[in-house]
């Protein structure tokens, strides 16, 4: 068989590098022997002795690379040459997490390290978030934009671009998502399953997915779209896309939609999209007194949305549930809590870390109590709930789901207020959250309760699979005398019941 030589002029390579190439070339069908060497006189002699030298190689100089192949056809020889050059020129794949590589400083540079990345998770300050997201979309990446404070016109532009390119633009202000089983942002450890969710609410999605997990079902996809997506300005651009995706997703049998009440135009388009799902659909619209009508089953609370989705998946009839505890047990908790309160202690004071959970709480309180403040940042003198995740509280400080300091301050503050009968709190678990959020606030709760009798009612949004373990967090709270309810809605209802009892005396 003939020898074929290919010469790359002035192409210095170390012999160690070149020796590895023989193996690559000899793996090519039709090739019986191969070598790559610099064209020094000594190397040319070696090639000659091995029968690998052809006239081209014989004319090469010491700085020239000679690729020499014995093959049954010119095509096979050329394939071997290509294999060698590929091995030479291909950038070595860099192991992810390679400690010798410096951390990249830009998205551009990160994509050199992970060239087949398909999603950018962006959580930079809002002023910069739009530009980063735009860059990621242009690079062909799906985006989850955790950041808030992004102008609404930027959001619309990003979402339009994403739709043009067939990409997801989750956010801005998208706190959580579970994509193909991968938790993004603040998300909980929930099993994979047959319920698909699309949500314009971070903690709303967490509360719903955790309820589903506790009820023994799992999640196919949980797509966050950002808190403003259902507004008329954004027009539900990404929610509609998410519903399309869930419609086409074979693993999704039931769809669950979570968000704030949609604008009128958006509600119509949502109803059209839901009608095309071909799958049962549950919807929860936070704080909507007259929920948008559509081909979905409306749930009154996040817990109910989760339970309804589970019922639909199992082919049973969903039913609204005020309490998962027996009525007598609820009565005992209310009576015990109200017993030690002083006459002036009449109000529920919510100190929250989760925005939608706070919103749901105030909504439920307003349903059964008078004197309920509507603002989540500046309460009146009656019943009130603060959402400490709001910007006014987080300027220059970490989010209360990451750090408990602001919450301890507010628990102490509300605990000292003469009118406080019940402290209502949420404890949000999951990836990204503090490793012991209950432990973070328990010292403040103990201090408040040591001063005078006071009811503290909590719910824990999470699962036992979460890094913090829901069971362990509940134990920590109960050990401090906290009444822990099964979900946020039940906690709010119980708090309201205690306040009513206190006010009735």
């Amino acid at each position: 068989m003939p020898a074929f030589n290919f010469v790359r002029a002035s192409f210095y390579q170390d012999s160690v590098t070149l020796m590895r190439l023989s193996r690559d070339m000899e793996a090519v069908p039709g090739v019986t022997a191969a070598a790559a060497m610099m064209g020094t006189p000594h190397n040319r002699e070696l090639l000659q002795q091995a029968g690998l030298l052809a006239p081209e190689g014989a004319a090469a100089g010491p700085a020239d690379l000679v690729i020499a192949v014995i093959a049954d056809s010119p095509a096979a020889a050329d394939a071997a040459r290509a294999a060698a050059e590929h091995a030479l020129l291909a950038r070595r794949a860099i192991a992810v997490g390679n400690t010798t590589a410096a951390t990249p400083r830009t998205l551009t540079s990160a994509l050199k390290i992970l060239p087949d990345a398909n999603l950018a998770l962006i959580s930079v300050p809002g002023a910069y978030a739009g530009a980063e997201a735009l860059q990621a979309l242009r690079a062909g990446l799906h985006v989850m934009l955790f950041s808030d404070n992004v102008p609404v016109e930027t959001e619309v532009a990003l979402k339009r671009l994403a739709l043009e390119r067939g990409l997801l633009m989750m956010g801005p202000d998208c706190g959580t998502a579970i994509v193909d089983g991968v938790p993004l942002g603040f998300a909980n450890a929930v099993p994979r399953g047959r319920i698909g969710l699309a949500a314009a609410s971070g903690t709303g999605l967490q509360e719903t997915t955790c309820t589903i997990a506790r009820e023994g079902e799992g999640v196919s996809q949980a797509i966050g779209v950002g808190g403003r997506d259902l507004s008329d300005e954004v027009g539900g651009l990404m929610m509609l896309r998410a519903l399309e995706l869930l419609a086409g997703d074979a693993a999704t049998e039931v769809v669950c939609l979570v968000g704030k009440p949609p604008g009128a135009g958006v509600a119509r388009r949502l109803a059209d999209a839901a009608a095309k799902l071909g799958k049962p659909c549950v919807a929860y619209f936070a704080g909507a007194s007259t929920p948008a009508a559509g081909p979905w089953r409306v749930a009154a609370t996040l817990e109910d949305a989760g339970r309804a989705a589970v019922a639909l998946a199992r082919g049973t009839t969903p039913a609204a549930t005020a309490f998962t505890l027996a009525a007598a047990e609820v009565e005992r908790l209310v009576a015990d809590a109200a017993r030690g309160l002083a006459p002036g202690q009449r109000y529920v004071r919510g100190v929250y870390s989760g925005g939608t959970l706070a919103y749901e709480a105030i909504d439920l309180l307003a349903g059964s109590l008078a004197e309920v403040a509507t603002s989540l940042t500046t309460g009146g003198s009656g019943h009130r709930v603060v959402d400490l995740g709001e910007d006014v509280f987080t300027v220059g400080r970490p989010h209360p789901m990451i750090d408990g300091r602001v919450r301890r301050e507010w628990i102490d503050r509300e605990g000292r207020d003469a009118g406080t009968a019940v402290l209502l709190v949420d404890v949000v678990l999951g990836y990204g959250a503090h490793r012991d959020p209950a432990g973070e606030i328990v010292p403040a709760i103990r201090a408040v309760r040591a001063r005078r009798p006071l009811a503290v009612v909590a719910s824990v949004c999470g699962t036992d699979g979460d890094p913090q373990s829901r069971a362990a967090q509940i134990a920590t709270l109960r050990d401090a005398g906290v009444i822990v309810m099964d979900g946020n809605a039940q906690a709010a209802r119980l708090a309201a019941a205690i306040a009513r009892r206190a006010g009735a005396r």
């Binding site: 010491p62 020129l89 830009t106 998205l107 992970l114 950018a120 959580s123 930079v124 193909d180 990836y431």
Partner: protein
């Protein structure tokens, strides 16, 4: 069904706790050590966003410029007087860096220029020489305007021999003077009789002999030589020991062949043997021949020239052709010879940053652990970090200049002005440190950073198009 079409592979930009979660769950993820782009300057961030809108076109232009930059095939072919090789007119003095008026020329560069005027015999003393410059009877021009790269002061006059390097891939030529050695030398601002005597010997004996020998050899492949020297722990700026040895080995047969008087060959051999940095000028001439073809690609943000003159730092960007963008040059940080310190140092100077422009020098720092201590106490680890950092602002990796310590990855090459402005990482340049006083010479060596200002100016010019 995979929602994204494939299993999630994530780039995390912002809070690292999200990346830690993904890592713990074995999801492929890369965390970006994000900082506000352009140091948080909203005007520059807006400029970057505007440029990002035409990213595809810019990336294509940069790929063209990068291909030209990295495909250069420099061959050392000759050594002839600048008068012939550059067609340098009489009464012209070349200097390093961007153009500047005499009033702004720093002391060591002034001393070198005045010394060169005396060397040419245009004036008998420094005062007379200064008078010639001041009334325009002697013209000052940048080396870069004459296909030349000049180390430190970079002074070239017509009778000085220059190496001729031919880029056989693109037909351009680059030139540089013969390295004078260490100690009291013109390029560091020394200009006494011993300096001029050496220059005379170079012009009358060493230069002609080198030229004859090189012509007899028909060309030495400098790219292959540099690739090999890089594997022998030279980065070709701070350290040229292996490259000089390889060059000497390659040249000596030619020099022996053309003969000449025996004692002249002996003197040249002794000079080469005693000058570890001899090759630096060849790397620069090769660099000049390699960078010029990369210039003038419309829309490209690739940096084709970085040069200093002891007062200003100047760059050229491919898309802006031969236009200079300048900013005040920085002070080098480094190690000093006994008896000298930072207070004695002149601001940085020389065209030798062309070595970094082609992906060597500080960009290839990890390849040269022996000179890593110039970076500070960290040594090898800092050298690796330096190369990794330069990768952040480069458009590609050099296909020929490969680094064994990085499993043969190419050295970072092709500084992209967009990435410099976005990250605020400015190119690092290995450098010698000259005394700020005339006549003293080299007082140390270290590293200098290019000033950000010239990159933002270049990007603004490109963004205005």
């Amino acid at each position: 069904m995979a929602l994204l079409g494939a299993a999630p592979r994530v780039v995390n930009v912002g809070l690292d706790l999200f990346a830690l979660t993904l890592a713990a769950l074995d999801v492929p993820a890369v965390h970006v050590d994000w900082r506000p782009p352009a140091g948080g300057d909203p005007r520059l961030a807006a400029l970057l966003a505007r440029l990002d809108a035409r990213r595809a076109a810019i990336d294509r232009a940069n790929a063209t410029a990068l291909e030209r930059l990295t495909s250069g095939a420099p061959f050392l072919v000759d050594c002839r007087p600048a008068r012939e090789a550059l067609e340098l007119p009489e009464r012209t003095v070349l200097h390093s860096g961007p153009p500047l008026p005499w009033e702004r020329v720093s002391e060591p560069v002034r001393a070198a220029i005045l010394g060169a005027i005396r060397y040419e015999g245009w004036a008998a003393n420094d005062d007379a020489a200064r008078e010639l410059v001041e009334r325009g009877a002697v013209r000052l021009e940048p080396c870069h305007h004459h296909a030349t790269a000049g180390p430190m002061a970079g002074v070239v006059t017509p009778s000085m021999p220059v190496f001729v390097v031919e880029n056989r891939a693109h037909g351009t030529r680059g030139h540089a003077t013969i390295n004078e050695g260490l100690g009291k030398v013109l390029r560091y601002g020394a200009n006494d009789d011993s300096v001029l005597a050496r220059l005379n010997w170079i012009a009358t004996e060493a230069g002609p002999l080198l030229g004859a020998g090189l012509r007899a050899l028909g060309g030495i492949d400098l790219r292959a030589l540099m690739a090999q020297a890089l594997r022998m722990a030279d980065e070709m700026h701070q350290r040229n020991l292996a490259a000089t040895a390889l060059l000497t080995r390659a040249m000596m047969p030619g020099i022996a062949q053309v003969g000449g008087r025996h004692h002249a060959v002996a003197r040249l051999a002794e000079f080469l043997a005693g000058n570890d940095q001899f090759f630096l000028n060849l790397a620069m001439a090769a660099g000049k021949s390699m960078v010029d073809p990369a210039g003038g690609v419309a829309g490209s943000t690739l940096v084709t020239v970085m040069a200093r003159n002891g007062t200003d730092f100047g760059i050229r960007v491919s898309g802006c052709g031969e236009r200079w963008f300048t900013a005040p040059v920085n002070m080098p940080q480094g190690l000093y010879f006994p008896g000298f310190g930072p207070d004695d140092a002149n601001p940085d100077m020389g065209d030798s940053a062309i070595v970094e422009t082609i992906g060597l020098g500080a960009f290839a720092m990890v390849a040269a652990p022996a000179v890593a201590r110039f970076l500070g106490a960290g040594g090898t680890a800092e050298a690796a970090a330096m190369t990794a950092e330069m990768r952040e602002i480069c458009a590609g990796e050099h296909p020929h200049f490969r680094i064994p310590a990085l499993d043969d990855r190419g050295s970072p090459v092709g500084v992209d002005a967009r990435l410099v402005v976005e990250t605020s990482i400015t190119p690092a340049i290995n450098t010698g440190i000259a005394s700020r006083r005339a006549g003293v010479g080299q007082i140390g060596a270290g590293v200098v950073r290019a000033p950000l200002g010239c990159f933002t100016a270049a990007l603004e010019a490109l963004g205005a198009e």
